[in-house]
Structures are given as C-alpha cells and as structure tokens.
C-alpha cells in the first residue's frame, strides 16, 4: 500500500511537431488530491489523458495503481478501478438522465442507484430530462455522477468546473471533499486558482508542457510569492540598485509591482523615500499578502487566464 497511486516518469507526448508534454515526472500518493494547474494548452489534459489510456505516450512511462494503461490487459483491469470525468466528451442527446445512470451502472455490474447519484450531483429533479436539453454545467455534473457510480479508487477530473455556475462548483467541491474523506486518490486539472488552492493537497504548475513548480499551495506561496506584494502607479518612477534588491520587480507602463523578499514595512519605506527623492508622486498603492495567483505569476511570468492578463494590461494602459 505504500506504493504511489500514480507514477508518471519522463513522459513526453508529441503531436507532429508540437511537443504537448515535455519530460514530465510526478507521483501521487494514495489518498491525496493532486492538481495540475496551468493555462489552456499547457499540457494538463494531455498528461491526464495518458494516465487514463486515451493518449499513448511518445516516450516515458505511466503507472496507475501499478498498471500500465498502454497494455491492453492491464488497461482493461484498470478501467474497473478508475473513474473519469472528461472535459471533452458528450453523452447521447436523446438519453434521459436516469437512463444514462442506469446504463452506466449496468456497465460496471453495480445495482442501479440513479436517484441517489442524481441527488449527489444536484440533479434529483432532472432525472427525466434529456441530456441534450441540459446546460453544459448540468451535463458536467452528470458526467461526474457516472464517474463515481462504481466507487472507483482513483478519480480523474479534467477541468471539472469549466462552464459550471456557482451552484455546480459548490456541488463538485463538496463531492471532492467527500471522496478525499473516503480515502480516494484524485487527480484534477484546472485553470482556476481558487479551485486548486481549495481542493489540492499538492499542486503541479504546468507551463508549455513542463512542470515548473510542484508543492502544496502554502509552500508555493511562501517560496515564490515572498512576504508581501507591493503594487503601485508612479509616473516617472525608476529603480536604483538598492531598490532592486528588495525583491522581484516587474513594470508595465507606470505600474510597478514587487514581490518583496524582505520585511514588508522596510520595503514600503524604501519605495516611498525613493519616490520622494525623485520628486515622483505615488498613486493607487496596494500592499497585500501574496496568494497562489501571485506565486503562479512569479513562477511562470504569466497570468493564469487571459482575463486576468487583460486586466493587468488594462490597468497599465
């Protein structure tokens, strides 16, 4: 039982000339929640799909519960023990929710419990609804229910809350916490900071097919976010060598940002007196405790989604 639930070693996946996954290795201990966090196209889904046998690695190995998903017989045994909620999938449009739940129960030879599982994902009053008539978020919740019907040991969730409303997200998060309490191992991909921070025991930050950081959310923030983040706008401001030593600086137009490595009050004092010496006025100053998003930006040099990036660019303009 000490063996890891999932072991990925030097995984490479190429599609033609494009390297989607570039030498990725990680292990997921049993009973933990493992998150792959990154922007769209970073290689999260490809990594997850190699774990569940949908994609064959170009190089490297993948073991889930000790089984190799590229080997037919081992993959067949693995299918009974994993549950999967795919981002890119669809169920027949003219099928009713209860029919899908009953058919999937039959696939796994478990007793039909459509009503119970519909309730678990908040679809109890939609049992007679056609799949094609449900919203994207509702279809995602149905996909979650069929991933869990057979009580799998390892659960893979690919962008589980993409397109979900607040209600759907709460349901999914509650379900993830329930699975963790039951001792299940979970792997999820996400580009939502809040989701990764809230759910995952361990987070891998993925950028351009590589793992660029891997730790708990708290450790990532401490290691990469610094003690504070200071953000201000000052026309005509410039750095000198002593200020540069305060931490990691970035600049967009008049907008300056520094992840401070030293004591925050000291840094703030130094910035203010430097601005005074330059005769520059500081507008819109903000000092906050860094979060995972700050750590993400510090590590990758990019915002997590394009909205956030547009927000920063807009503020700088």
């Amino acid at each position: 039982m000490s063996e890891a639930a999932i072991a990925v070693s030097h995984l490479v996946k190429r599609f033609g000339d494009v390297v989607a996954v570039d030498d990725v290795s990680f292990e997921v201990p049993r009973g933990t929640i493992f998150g792959l966090l990154g922007r769209n196209g970073a290689g999260k889904t490809t990594t997850l799909e190699t774990c569940i046998g949908l994609t064959v690695p170009t190089r490297g190995t993948v073991r889930v519960l000790g089984l190799d998903p590229t080997k037919r017989a081992e993959f067949q045994r693995l299918k009974w023990r994993i549950g999967v909620q795919l981002q890119a999938t669809s169920l027949p449009e003219k099928a009713r929710v209860s029919e899908i739940l009953d058919l999937y129960a039959a696939y796994y030879g478990v007793p039909p419990r459509a009503a119970e599982f519909a309730e678990r994902v908040g679809l109890e009053d939609k049992l007679d609804r056609f799949v094609g008539k449900m919203s994207g978020g509702e279809q995602q919740r149905l996909a979650l229910a069929i991933a869990l019907l057979h009580d799998p040991e390892v659960v893979f969730l690919d962008e589980p809350t993409a397109g979900m409303d607040a209600f759907g997200r709460r349901i999914l998060w509650a379900e993830v916490e329930r699975l963790k309490a039951a001792g299940k191992t979970l792997v999820l991909t996400t580009h939502y900071i809040e989701e990764a921070e809230r759910l995952c025991d361990e987070i891998c930050i993925v950028q351009a097919g590589k793992i660029v950081a891997r730790d708990t959310a708290a450790a990532l923030v401490t290691a990469h976010g610094g003690s504070a983040c200071i953000d201000f706008a000052a026309r005509g401001f410039s750095l000198d060598p002593s200020l540069e030593n305060l931490g990691r600086w970035s600049q967009k137009g008049e907008r300056w940002q520094v992840f401070v490595a030293v004591e925050p009050g000291h840094a703030l004092g130094a910035i203010v007196s430097h601005a005074n010496a330059l005769g520059v006025s500081i507008d819109d100053l903000d000092l906050h405790r860094p979060g995972l998003e700050d750590a993400f930006i510090a590590i990758t040099g990019e915002a997590l989604d394009d909205d956030a990036l547009a927000g920063t660019a807009g503020a700088a303009a």
């Binding site: 569940i52 046998g53 949908l54 994609t55 067949q76 299918k79 009974w80 994993i82 999967v84 795919l86 890119a88 999938t89 669809s90 169920l91 027949p92 003219k94 099928a95 029919e99 009953d102 058919l103 999937y104 039959a106 696939y107 796994y108 030879g109």
Partner: protein, 247 residues
C-alpha cells in the same frame, strides 16, 4: 451473465435514443421506403403492379440493409468519434464486442420493423405475398445486416471525419442499390455487366433474400452466396478490429 444484460440494455438504449426519439430517423427509415414502393411500383409496373411490387418489396428492404450498414453504423461511428461519444464508452469496462453487437442488434430490430412495414403495405396495396419460410427469411436478413454492418464499421474505423464518412456512405449506398438488383432488375443490363454485378455482395444478398422471401427458395439453394457473405462479414470485422480507433 452481466455481459448479456449489458448487451440487451445497450440495444434497447440504442433503439430508443437513435430511432424512437428521433423524428427525422423515423421518417427516413419508415416513410421513405414506403414512398419509394409507391413511386417505383406505378412508374415501372405498367399493367402489372403486383409483379413489380413483388420484386420491389425485397429490393427496398435490401437497400435498407445496405444503408443501415454504411449510413446507420459506418457514418454514425465517425460522428460518435468526432463528437467524443466513443471515448467515454471506451473508458468503461464493457468489452468492445458488446458495444458493436448492440449496434448490430439495434439495426437488426430496426430492419425487422422496416421489413414488416414494407411487407404489410405491399400486401394491402399491391397484393404482394410473402411466401417464404419465416425462419429462413429472418436468418438471411440477419446475415445481410451482420455483413453490411461489419462492412460499415470499416468506414467508421478508417475514415476520420464525419463529413467524409457521410460522403462515402452515400456514394456506396445509392449507386449500389441501383446496381444490385434492388430497384432495377439486373437482367436489364447487358449480360456481361450483369454477370459482373452478380459478384457484388449486395447483389448476392438481395437476390438470395428475394428468392427466399418471395419465391419460397430454401437457404441451401443459396449456400455459395451465403458462404461468400459470411466471408465478407468476417473480413469486415477483422479489418475493423485491426484499425478501429476509439479516440
């Protein structure tokens, strides 16, 4: 016996989801063949619609068998792959033969329904009499469905996009129906061409089906063609099993 339960549940689900609840599908698979029966009977029948219709009823059912395999299964599999329905099924532990058998069974039950409708309309309107042994009729129809569904899955296995699968399905179905003794008696072609056309599995199936259903021939009478159809079915299954991709 869980596999058997899954097979039945999946067949029933296919029938419900892809036929019963799809108005367009009901129209194309039931109304259109009946419409063709009327048009062709009057257009080609001249003075004797009865003998023309007796020729047409099994021909139209045979054409439905072709379209069932190429369209109904071949193009549908390509659509399922593109819409990412297949990958979800692939991740479940059901054996792939269960999934394919359920498609074949669904298509066979739909064909039985289509055959029944054409035979009843043919009987009531054009005095067509089905005199063959019901068991023999069921067997040859099932063999035809299995053969053309298995050839259809080759399209689904090899062709990537829904669009080309649809094109290939129509290019195969429509001309084949005209060349395989379904609508036009094959002996209206020059003898040399007719002999070539008799080598087509679609001609062999439709002729055997017509002989057994309408003229009371025995299965044994068509033993050679039945054997060849079995070979086609086997070859189609083997090619699909080798090249089929779920994702």
């Amino acid at each position: 016996m869980n596999v058997l339960r899954v097979l039945l549940a999946q067949t029933r689900a296919n029938f419900l989801w892809y036929f019963m609840r799809d108005g367009e599908m009901i129209f194309w698979s039931l109304a259109i063949p009946v419409f063709f029966l009327f048009v062709f009977s009057f257009a080609m029948g001249g003075g004797s619609t009865q003998s023309t219709s007796t020729f047409l009823v099994p021909g139209l059912i045979g054409a439905q068998v072709l379209s069932s395999g190429f369209w109904g299964v071949g193009a549908m599999l390509a659509t399922f792959r593109e819409k990412k329905v297949l990958r979800r099924i692939y991740l479940t532990p059901i054996p792939s033969w269960t999934f394919f058998s359920a498609l074949v069974l669904y298509r066979m039950s739909l064909l039985a329904l289509q055959a029944l409708v054409l035979a009843i309309v043919g009987g009531l309107v054009f005095h067509v009499h089905v005199i063959g042994n019901p068991l023999s009729i069921a067997l040859i129809l099932a063999l035809g469905a299995a053969t053309f569904v298995s050839l259809g899955t080759v399209i689904g296995a090899v062709v990537r996009s829904t669009e080309s699968a649809n094109n290939i399905a129509s290019v195969l179905t429509v001309p084949l129906a005209f060349l395989s003794d379904a609508y036009i008696p094959i002996d209206r072609f020059p003898a040399a061409i007719a002999n070539l056309l008799r080598l087509l599995p679609s001609t062999q199936f439709i002729d055997a089906f017509r002989g057994i259903a309408m003229y009371g021939d025995s299965l044994a009478h068509y033993a050679v063609w039945i054997g060849i159809l079995c070979l086609w079915a086997f070859a189609g299954t083997a090619v699909s099993a080798r090249y089929f991709r779920w994702v």
